[in-house]
Symmetry: C2
Subunit: 193 residues, 2 copies
Amino acid sequence: MAVNRPQHSREDVVRAAGRLFAEHGFHGTSMRDLGDELGLLGSSLYSHIDGKNELLVEVIRRGGSMFQDLADDVLATDADPAEQLHLLIRGHVQIIVDHLDEARTFLNEARFLPPKERAVVLEMRDSYEQTYRRIIEQGVGTGVFNAERDPALMAILILSLLNALDRWYRPGGPNDPDEISQRMFEFVTNGIG
Amino acid sequence: MAVNRPQHSREDVVRAAGRLFAEHGFHGTSMRDLGDELGLLGSSLYSHIDGKNELLVEVIRRGGSMFQDLADDVLATDADPAEQLHLLIRGHVQIIVDHLDEARTFLNEARFLPPKERAVVLEMRDSYEQTYRRIIEQGVGTGVFNAERDPALMAILILSLLNALDRWYRPGGPNDPDEISQRMFEFVTNGIG
DNA sequence: CCTACCGATCGGTAGG
DNA sequence: CCTACCGATCGGTAGG
Protein backbone atom coordinates (compact mmCIF):
# COMPACT_ATOMS: atom_id res chain seq x y z
CA MET A 1 0.00 0.00 0.00
CA ALA A 2 1.51 3.34 -1.02
CA VAL A 3 1.60 6.19 1.50
CA ASN A 4 -1.27 8.63 0.88
CA ARG A 5 -0.42 11.80 -1.02
CA PRO A 6 -0.19 15.08 0.92
CA GLN A 7 -3.13 17.36 0.12
CA HIS A 8 -1.83 20.36 2.01
CA SER A 9 1.41 22.30 2.24
CA ARG A 10 3.20 23.41 5.37
CA GLU A 11 2.00 26.89 4.41
CA ASP A 12 -1.63 25.75 4.68
CA VAL A 13 -0.97 24.37 8.13
CA VAL A 14 0.68 27.56 9.39
CA ARG A 15 -2.14 29.70 8.04
CA ALA A 16 -4.83 27.51 9.56
CA ALA A 17 -2.96 27.60 12.86
CA GLY A 18 -2.98 31.40 12.72
CA ARG A 19 -6.71 31.38 12.17
CA LEU A 20 -7.41 29.11 15.14
CA PHE A 21 -4.85 30.66 17.49
CA ALA A 22 -6.31 34.09 16.76
CA GLU A 23 -9.86 32.96 17.43
CA HIS A 24 -9.55 30.40 20.23
CA GLY A 25 -6.11 31.14 21.61
CA PHE A 26 -3.06 28.86 21.59
CA HIS A 27 -4.20 26.80 24.58
CA GLY A 28 -7.76 26.73 23.27
CA THR A 29 -6.66 25.09 20.02
CA SER A 30 -5.80 21.38 19.92
CA MET A 31 -3.89 19.64 17.17
CA ARG A 32 -7.08 17.74 16.42
CA ASP A 33 -8.96 21.06 16.02
CA LEU A 34 -6.29 22.12 13.59
CA GLY A 35 -6.55 18.86 11.71
CA ASP A 36 -10.33 19.27 11.45
CA GLU A 37 -9.86 22.76 10.02
CA LEU A 38 -7.83 21.23 7.17
CA GLY A 39 -9.81 18.03 6.81
CA LEU A 40 -7.24 15.63 8.18
CA LEU A 41 -6.26 13.99 11.44
CA GLY A 42 -4.31 15.75 14.15
CA SER A 43 -1.55 13.19 13.93
CA SER A 44 -1.15 13.83 10.20
CA LEU A 45 0.01 17.38 10.89
CA TYR A 46 3.34 16.05 12.13
CA SER A 47 4.49 15.28 8.61
CA HIS A 48 4.42 19.05 8.01
CA ILE A 49 5.71 20.37 11.33
CA ASP A 50 7.65 19.26 14.39
CA GLY A 51 5.20 20.33 17.06
CA LYS A 52 2.52 22.72 18.23
CA ASN A 53 5.02 25.21 19.65
CA GLU A 54 6.73 25.49 16.29
CA LEU A 55 3.43 26.64 14.78
CA LEU A 56 3.03 29.34 17.39
CA VAL A 57 6.59 30.52 16.81
CA GLU A 58 6.09 30.61 13.06
CA VAL A 59 2.78 32.50 13.12
CA ILE A 60 4.10 35.06 15.57
CA ARG A 61 7.36 35.49 13.66
CA ARG A 62 5.32 36.35 10.59
CA GLY A 63 3.22 38.84 12.52
CA GLY A 64 6.21 40.49 14.12
CA SER A 65 8.32 40.80 11.00
CA MET A 66 5.60 42.76 9.23
CA PHE A 67 5.69 45.46 11.88
CA GLN A 68 9.47 45.39 11.83
CA ASP A 69 9.53 45.82 8.05
CA LEU A 70 7.10 48.71 8.31
CA ALA A 71 9.32 50.51 10.80
CA ASP A 72 12.36 49.98 8.55
CA ASP A 73 10.50 51.25 5.50
CA VAL A 74 9.28 54.36 7.25
CA LEU A 75 12.68 55.18 8.73
CA ALA A 76 14.19 54.86 5.24
CA THR A 77 12.05 57.74 3.97
CA ASP A 78 13.22 61.31 4.40
CA ALA A 79 9.74 62.48 5.35
CA ASP A 80 9.36 64.87 8.26
CA PRO A 81 8.32 63.47 11.66
CA ALA A 82 4.60 64.19 11.27
CA GLU A 83 4.56 62.47 7.89
CA GLN A 84 6.57 59.52 9.24
CA LEU A 85 4.11 59.10 12.08
CA HIS A 86 1.28 59.21 9.58
CA LEU A 87 2.99 56.49 7.53
CA LEU A 88 3.50 54.33 10.61
CA ILE A 89 -0.16 54.62 11.57
CA ARG A 90 -1.38 53.89 8.08
CA GLY A 91 0.97 50.93 7.70
CA HIS A 92 0.12 49.51 11.12
CA VAL A 93 -3.60 49.65 10.41
CA GLN A 94 -3.06 48.06 7.02
CA ILE A 95 -1.09 45.17 8.53
CA ILE A 96 -3.79 44.40 11.07
CA VAL A 97 -6.53 44.64 8.46
CA ASP A 98 -4.70 42.53 5.86
CA HIS A 99 -3.18 39.96 8.21
CA LEU A 100 -5.64 39.84 11.06
CA ASP A 101 -4.84 36.29 12.19
CA GLU A 102 -1.08 36.74 12.39
CA ALA A 103 -1.47 40.15 14.01
CA ARG A 104 -3.90 38.88 16.65
CA THR A 105 -1.70 35.91 17.43
CA PHE A 106 1.36 38.16 17.64
CA LEU A 107 -0.41 40.60 19.93
CA ASN A 108 -2.31 38.20 22.17
CA GLU A 109 -0.54 34.84 22.25
CA ALA A 110 3.14 35.79 22.46
CA ARG A 111 3.13 35.21 26.22
CA PHE A 112 2.72 31.47 25.54
CA LEU A 113 5.88 31.27 23.48
CA PRO A 114 8.83 29.27 24.83
CA PRO A 115 11.12 31.58 26.86
CA LYS A 116 13.75 32.11 24.19
CA GLU A 117 11.32 32.98 21.41
CA ARG A 118 9.32 35.08 23.80
CA ALA A 119 12.42 37.15 24.54
CA VAL A 120 12.91 37.74 20.82
CA VAL A 121 9.35 39.05 20.50
CA LEU A 122 9.80 41.37 23.48
CA GLU A 123 12.91 42.81 21.81
CA MET A 124 11.03 43.29 18.53
CA ARG A 125 8.23 45.11 20.29
CA ASP A 126 10.65 47.28 22.18
CA SER A 127 12.51 48.20 19.02
CA TYR A 128 9.23 48.98 17.25
CA GLU A 129 8.15 51.19 20.14
CA GLN A 130 11.50 53.00 20.07
CA THR A 131 10.83 53.90 16.45
CA TYR A 132 7.69 55.71 17.50
CA ARG A 133 9.45 57.36 20.41
CA ARG A 134 12.30 58.71 18.30
CA ILE A 135 9.99 60.08 15.66
CA ILE A 136 8.01 61.85 18.37
CA GLU A 137 11.19 63.24 19.86
CA GLN A 138 12.25 64.54 16.48
CA GLY A 139 8.85 66.12 16.01
CA VAL A 140 9.19 67.80 19.37
CA GLY A 141 12.58 69.07 18.23
CA THR A 142 11.16 70.63 15.08
CA GLY A 143 8.16 71.98 16.99
CA VAL A 144 5.49 70.00 15.13
CA PHE A 145 4.75 67.88 18.22
CA ASN A 146 4.20 69.12 21.70
CA ALA A 147 5.05 66.13 23.88
CA GLU A 148 8.26 67.19 25.57
CA ARG A 149 6.95 65.96 28.91
CA ASP A 150 7.09 62.28 27.97
CA PRO A 151 7.60 61.02 24.41
CA ALA A 152 8.03 57.45 25.71
CA LEU A 153 4.54 57.48 27.20
CA MET A 154 3.12 59.09 24.07
CA ALA A 155 4.59 56.22 22.02
CA ILE A 156 2.88 53.72 24.31
CA LEU A 157 -0.44 55.54 24.01
CA ILE A 158 -0.28 55.67 20.22
CA LEU A 159 0.55 51.97 20.08
CA SER A 160 -2.30 51.27 22.50
CA LEU A 161 -4.64 52.85 20.00
CA LEU A 162 -3.21 50.95 17.06
CA ASN A 163 -2.95 47.55 18.68
CA ALA A 164 -6.50 47.61 19.97
CA LEU A 165 -7.71 47.62 16.36
CA ASP A 166 -7.50 43.84 16.22
CA ARG A 167 -10.19 43.75 18.89
CA TRP A 168 -12.84 45.80 17.16
CA TYR A 169 -12.04 45.72 13.46
CA ARG A 170 -14.46 43.61 11.47
CA PRO A 171 -13.81 43.02 7.76
CA GLY A 172 -16.45 44.73 5.69
CA GLY A 173 -17.55 46.84 8.65
CA PRO A 174 -18.62 50.49 8.42
CA ASN A 175 -15.09 51.93 8.52
CA ASP A 176 -12.57 51.18 5.80
CA PRO A 177 -8.86 51.00 6.67
CA ASP A 178 -7.95 54.34 5.08
CA GLU A 179 -10.67 56.12 7.00
CA ILE A 180 -9.64 54.43 10.24
CA SER A 181 -5.99 55.47 9.84
CA GLN A 182 -6.99 58.99 8.90
CA ARG A 183 -9.18 59.37 11.99
CA MET A 184 -6.52 57.82 14.18
CA PHE A 185 -3.89 60.22 12.92
CA GLU A 186 -6.16 63.19 13.52
CA PHE A 187 -6.94 61.87 17.00
CA VAL A 188 -3.27 61.40 17.79
CA THR A 189 -2.28 64.86 16.62
CA ASN A 190 -5.25 66.90 17.82
CA GLY A 191 -7.27 64.82 20.28
CA ILE A 192 -10.95 65.59 20.54
CA GLY A 193 -10.62 68.93 22.33
CA MET B 1 -12.05 9.82 60.61
CA ALA B 2 -13.47 13.35 60.51
CA VAL B 3 -13.54 15.25 57.22
CA ASN B 4 -10.60 17.70 57.02
CA ARG B 5 -11.35 21.30 57.87
CA PRO B 6 -11.50 23.87 55.03
CA GLN B 7 -8.50 26.20 55.12
CA HIS B 8 -9.73 28.51 52.36
CA SER B 9 -12.92 30.37 51.51
CA ARG B 10 -14.68 30.50 48.19
CA GLU B 11 -13.38 34.06 48.02
CA ASP B 12 -9.79 32.80 48.14
CA VAL B 13 -10.51 30.43 45.28
CA VAL B 14 -12.07 33.12 43.09
CA ARG B 15 -9.18 35.50 43.72
CA ALA B 16 -6.56 32.87 42.97
CA ALA B 17 -8.46 31.98 39.79
CA GLY B 18 -8.33 35.64 38.75
CA ARG B 19 -4.59 35.69 39.29
CA LEU B 20 -3.97 32.59 37.17
CA PHE B 21 -6.51 33.39 34.44
CA ALA B 22 -4.95 36.85 34.09
CA GLU B 23 -1.43 35.47 33.82
CA HIS B 24 -1.81 32.18 31.94
CA GLY B 25 -5.25 32.54 30.39
CA PHE B 26 -8.35 30.47 31.10
CA HIS B 27 -7.28 27.54 28.92
CA GLY B 28 -3.71 27.79 30.20
CA THR B 29 -4.86 27.26 33.79
CA SER B 30 -5.80 23.80 35.04
CA MET B 31 -7.75 23.05 38.17
CA ARG B 32 -4.60 21.39 39.49
CA ASP B 33 -2.64 24.61 38.85
CA LEU B 34 -5.28 26.46 40.82
CA GLY B 35 -5.11 23.92 43.63
CA ASP B 36 -1.31 24.30 43.76
CA GLU B 37 -1.68 28.07 44.03
CA LEU B 38 -3.73 27.56 47.18
CA GLY B 39 -1.82 24.58 48.56
CA LEU B 40 -4.49 21.94 47.99
CA LEU B 41 -5.51 19.39 45.38
CA GLY B 42 -7.44 20.29 42.26
CA SER B 43 -10.26 18.00 43.25
CA SER B 44 -10.61 19.78 46.58
CA LEU B 45 -11.69 22.95 44.84
CA TYR B 46 -15.06 21.40 44.05
CA SER B 47 -16.19 21.80 47.63
CA HIS B 48 -16.05 25.58 47.03
CA ILE B 49 -17.30 25.84 43.46
CA ASP B 50 -19.28 23.87 40.88
CA GLY B 51 -16.83 24.00 38.01
CA LYS B 52 -14.10 25.82 36.18
CA ASN B 53 -16.53 27.82 34.05
CA GLU B 54 -18.20 29.18 37.15
CA LEU B 55 -14.87 30.65 38.24
CA LEU B 56 -14.41 32.40 34.92
CA VAL B 57 -17.93 33.79 35.08
CA GLU B 58 -17.42 35.04 38.63
CA VAL B 59 -14.06 36.73 38.00
CA ILE B 60 -15.33 38.43 34.86
CA ARG B 61 -18.55 39.50 36.54
CA ARG B 62 -16.48 41.25 39.19
CA GLY B 63 -14.33 42.94 36.57
CA GLY B 64 -17.28 44.09 34.54
CA SER B 65 -19.36 45.42 37.39
CA MET B 66 -16.58 47.76 38.47
CA PHE B 67 -16.62 49.50 35.11
CA GLN B 68 -20.40 49.55 35.17
CA ASP B 69 -20.42 51.15 38.61
CA LEU B 70 -17.92 53.74 37.47
CA ALA B 71 -20.11 54.74 34.53
CA ASP B 72 -23.15 55.00 36.82
CA ASP B 73 -21.24 57.12 39.33
CA VAL B 74 -19.95 59.50 36.70
CA LEU B 75 -23.34 59.90 35.04
CA ALA B 76 -24.83 60.72 38.44
CA THR B 77 -22.62 63.81 38.76
CA ASP B 78 -23.70 67.08 37.21
CA ALA B 79 -20.21 67.81 35.97
CA ASP B 80 -19.75 69.16 32.45
CA PRO B 81 -18.77 66.71 29.68
CA ALA B 82 -15.02 67.41 29.84
CA GLU B 83 -15.02 66.86 33.58
CA GLN B 84 -17.11 63.70 33.22
CA LEU B 85 -14.68 62.34 30.67
CA HIS B 86 -11.83 63.16 33.02
CA LEU B 87 -13.61 61.26 35.81
CA LEU B 88 -14.18 58.25 33.55
CA ILE B 89 -10.52 58.14 32.56
CA ARG B 90 -9.31 58.51 36.13
CA GLY B 91 -11.74 55.87 37.39
CA HIS B 92 -10.94 53.44 34.60
CA VAL B 93 -7.21 53.69 35.23
CA GLN B 94 -7.79 53.25 38.95
CA ILE B 95 -9.84 50.09 38.41
CA ILE B 96 -7.17 48.49 36.25
CA VAL B 97 -4.41 49.46 38.67
CA ASP B 98 -6.29 48.33 41.78
CA HIS B 99 -7.88 45.19 40.35
CA LEU B 100 -5.44 44.12 37.68
CA ASP B 101 -6.34 40.42 37.72
CA GLU B 102 -10.08 40.87 37.38
CA ALA B 103 -9.62 43.60 34.78
CA ARG B 104 -7.23 41.52 32.68
CA THR B 105 -9.51 38.49 32.85
CA PHE B 106 -12.51 40.65 31.94
CA LEU B 107 -10.67 42.21 29.01
CA ASN B 108 -8.85 39.17 27.65
CA GLU B 109 -10.72 36.01 28.60
CA ALA B 110 -14.37 36.94 28.09
CA ARG B 111 -14.40 35.22 24.70
CA PHE B 112 -14.07 31.86 26.51
CA LEU B 113 -17.23 32.40 28.53
CA PRO B 114 -20.25 30.16 27.86
CA PRO B 115 -22.49 31.79 25.19
CA LYS B 116 -25.08 33.20 27.57
CA GLU B 117 -22.62 34.82 29.94
CA ARG B 118 -20.58 36.01 27.01
CA ALA B 119 -23.61 37.82 25.66
CA VAL B 120 -24.07 39.56 29.01
CA VAL B 121 -20.48 40.81 28.90
CA LEU B 122 -20.89 42.09 25.35
CA GLU B 123 -23.94 44.05 26.48
CA MET B 124 -22.06 45.48 29.44
CA ARG B 125 -19.21 46.59 27.21
CA ASP B 126 -21.57 48.12 24.74
CA SER B 127 -23.39 50.04 27.44
CA TYR B 128 -20.09 51.25 28.89
CA GLU B 129 -18.95 52.41 25.46
CA GLN B 130 -22.26 54.23 24.96
CA THR B 131 -21.56 56.21 28.10
CA TYR B 132 -18.36 57.51 26.55
CA ARG B 133 -20.09 58.22 23.26
CA ARG B 134 -22.90 60.20 24.84
CA ILE B 135 -20.54 62.30 26.92
CA ILE B 136 -18.50 63.06 23.81
CA GLU B 137 -21.67 64.01 21.94
CA GLN B 138 -22.68 66.32 24.75
CA GLY B 139 -19.24 67.89 24.71
CA VAL B 140 -19.53 68.43 20.99
CA GLY B 141 -22.88 70.07 21.66
CA THR B 142 -21.41 72.52 24.16
CA GLY B 143 -18.40 73.14 21.95
CA VAL B 144 -15.77 71.77 24.34
CA PHE B 145 -15.09 68.77 22.08
CA ASN B 146 -14.52 68.84 18.37
CA ALA B 147 -15.45 65.35 17.23
CA GLU B 148 -18.66 65.87 15.31
CA ARG B 149 -17.38 63.64 12.52
CA ASP B 150 -17.63 60.43 14.57
CA PRO B 151 -18.15 60.37 18.34
CA ALA B 152 -18.70 56.58 18.22
CA LEU B 153 -15.22 56.06 16.80
CA MET B 154 -13.73 58.53 19.30
CA ALA B 155 -15.27 56.50 22.12
CA ILE B 156 -13.63 53.36 20.73
CA LEU B 157 -10.27 55.10 20.46
CA ILE B 158 -10.41 56.40 24.02
CA LEU B 159 -11.33 52.97 25.31
CA SER B 160 -8.52 51.45 23.25
CA LEU B 161 -6.13 53.68 25.13
CA LEU B 162 -7.59 52.85 28.51
CA ASN B 163 -7.96 49.12 28.03
CA ALA B 164 -4.40 48.68 26.81
CA LEU B 165 -3.18 49.79 30.23
CA ASP B 166 -3.50 46.26 31.57
CA ARG B 167 -0.81 45.25 29.08
CA TRP B 168 1.92 47.68 30.06
CA TYR B 169 1.13 48.79 33.62
CA ARG B 170 3.50 47.34 36.17
CA PRO B 171 2.81 47.95 39.88
CA GLY B 172 5.52 50.15 41.33
CA GLY B 173 6.67 51.22 37.87
CA PRO B 174 7.81 54.72 36.95
CA ASN B 175 4.32 56.14 36.39
CA ASP B 176 1.80 56.35 39.18
CA PRO B 177 -1.92 56.01 38.39
CA ASP B 178 -2.72 59.70 38.86
CA GLU B 179 0.03 60.71 36.50
CA ILE B 180 -1.05 58.13 33.93
CA SER B 181 -4.66 59.33 33.97
CA GLN B 182 -3.58 62.95 33.75
CA ARG B 183 -1.38 62.28 30.71
CA MET B 184 -4.09 60.19 29.11
CA PHE B 185 -6.66 62.93 29.56
CA GLU B 186 -4.31 65.50 28.05
CA PHE B 187 -3.58 63.15 25.17
CA VAL B 188 -7.27 62.56 24.55
CA THR B 189 -8.16 66.22 24.58
CA ASN B 190 -5.13 67.70 22.81
CA GLY B 191 -3.18 64.91 21.14
CA ILE B 192 0.52 65.44 20.65
CA GLY B 193 0.29 68.10 17.92
C1' DC C 1 -9.98 18.78 52.32
C1' DC C 2 -7.99 14.05 50.93
C1' DT C 3 -8.08 9.30 48.71
C1' DA C 4 -8.99 7.06 44.85
C1' DC C 5 -10.72 7.17 40.95
C1' DC C 6 -13.36 8.07 35.98
C1' DG C 7 -13.74 8.78 30.87
C1' DA C 8 -12.18 12.15 27.67
C1' DT C 9 -8.75 14.56 25.56
C1' DC C 10 -4.08 16.18 25.07
C1' DG C 11 0.53 16.38 22.20
C1' DG C 12 2.97 13.24 19.92
C1' DT C 13 5.17 8.59 17.67
C1' DA C 14 5.88 4.17 14.81
C1' DG C 15 4.99 2.23 10.79
C1' DG C 16 3.10 1.89 6.37
C1' DC D 1 -1.87 11.13 5.10
C1' DC D 2 -3.98 7.13 7.84
C1' DT D 3 -4.01 3.30 11.40
C1' DA D 4 -3.12 2.33 15.76
C1' DC D 5 -1.41 3.61 19.44
C1' DC D 6 1.28 5.93 23.91
C1' DG D 7 1.72 8.17 28.53
C1' DA D 8 0.27 12.42 30.54
C1' DT D 9 -3.05 15.48 31.79
C1' DC D 10 -7.69 17.31 31.71
C1' DG D 11 -12.28 18.52 34.39
C1' DG D 12 -14.79 16.31 37.53
C1' DT D 13 -17.11 12.66 41.09
C1' DA D 14 -17.93 9.37 45.17
C1' DG D 15 -17.07 8.73 49.59
C1' DG D 16 -15.18 9.71 53.92
